[in-house]
Symmetry: C2
Subunit: 120 residues, 2 copies
């Protein structure tokens, strides 16, 4: 058995350089999204006036955590969809993904377009 | 049947003036505790440096909400224990409770002492 053969059909293999590009782009997008949540949390906290604002902040944080956990799934079998979503949301740029193989970029763009149509 | 007779044995009735005193003391303690949580939330939010600080804040808020929900139970059948705990925690003063009947103050002090011994 060829140890380099990927066991699942239709799931692209990731070369070492592609993995490096993916990791960098993924971490950058996650870092930016977390930074946004931090800024929004500080803004909301500074404006707390009554107890309902406290529990609104709690709810906001819970939702952010769940949504980030779902979105940032670093499994190679999921990664083209993950980047597709990040591209659709403007959280990753095509520049950051350059260096990935053409078939992957195509899958990523195609999922981004699917989400854009779905939202329309 | 006497409509003023309280249906449960050993549970004191609350006169109109006692209810007013209880409500004021209860709301004041709750307001102070919520104010503390607001201040602590603002302090923590201002010091967020990394994502784990976000989820620590979320956890802190969840725990506060649950604990406050449990503690501030305004049922007359529970109120002497509620004030006993608030007295033990220093969240209500004997002054704020003055005007309650002697047997209630005794129950309140007795539960506060029980909690103090339990914690020791």
């Amino acid at each position: 058995m060829n140890p380099n053969a990927y066991p699942y059909k239709n799931e692209p293999t990731w070369s070492r350089s592609e993995k490096a590009i993916a990791r960098t782009a993924f971490d950058a997008a996650l870092g930016r999204e977390l930074h946004e949540v931090v800024q929004e949390t500080k803004r909301r906290a500074s404006q707390i006036r009554q107890s309902s604002d406290l529990w609104d902040l709690e709810h906001y944080l819970t939702e952010c955590r769940k949504q980030i956990d779902r979105k940032y799934d670093y499994r190679y079998s999921r990664l083209t969809d993950v980047f597709g979503r990040l591209l659709y949301e403007g959280r990753v740029s095509e520049d950051e993904l350059s260096g990935l193989r053409g078939d992957k970029l195509e899958s990523i763009r195609s999922f981004a377009e699917f989400l854009a149509k779905d939202a329309a």
